[in-house]
Symmetry: C2
Subunit: 66 residues, 2 copies
Amino acid sequence: MGKNLKLKSARVAKDMSQKDLADAVGVTRQTINAIENGDYNPTINLCIAICKALDKTLNDLFWEDD
Amino acid sequence: MGKNLKLKSARVAKDMSQKDLADAVGVTRQTINAIENGDYNPTINLCIAICKALDKTLNDLFWEDD
DNA sequence: ATATTATGTCAAATATATTTTACATTTTAT
DNA sequence: ATAAAATGTAAAATATATTTGACATAATAT
């Protein structure tokens, strides 16, 4: 699993730190960090919460077109 | 969490049983059943595998527009 | 009518997502 | 140059996704 640069970009575009986003969606900073660095397989509910916090959709942040 | 009727529809449209889909993505029948019935918070990797098996995207099957 | 397949559900076990605590390095502000 | 904030990472604990095995009902075929 590679890094999720789309997520990182969307977060930075909103001027949020990893901790800001973590607080917004109710998880810890380490969880956001792990997702951005691709070490991780988060639940869909968390992905949806992240998308909503960043005004994006699942396809925007978590879908890869072949 | 309500039922995921979009998922169920997409599966039936492909003429697949819950077990067929489960086998295609490498989980058990109970897991697919639970996801369709909305009792459940699956991982994003499983959601992506399901989407690919059904020729759909994450937004098609797991995103709700307000 | 009977057998077979598909579905709904449940309890206990296992795998893994997430938290907690902690420390190191990098980046940004003063 | 220094302090503070942000990031990367890791090990142990906890919460929860998923499996396994089982039983019941509904739908479909013979």
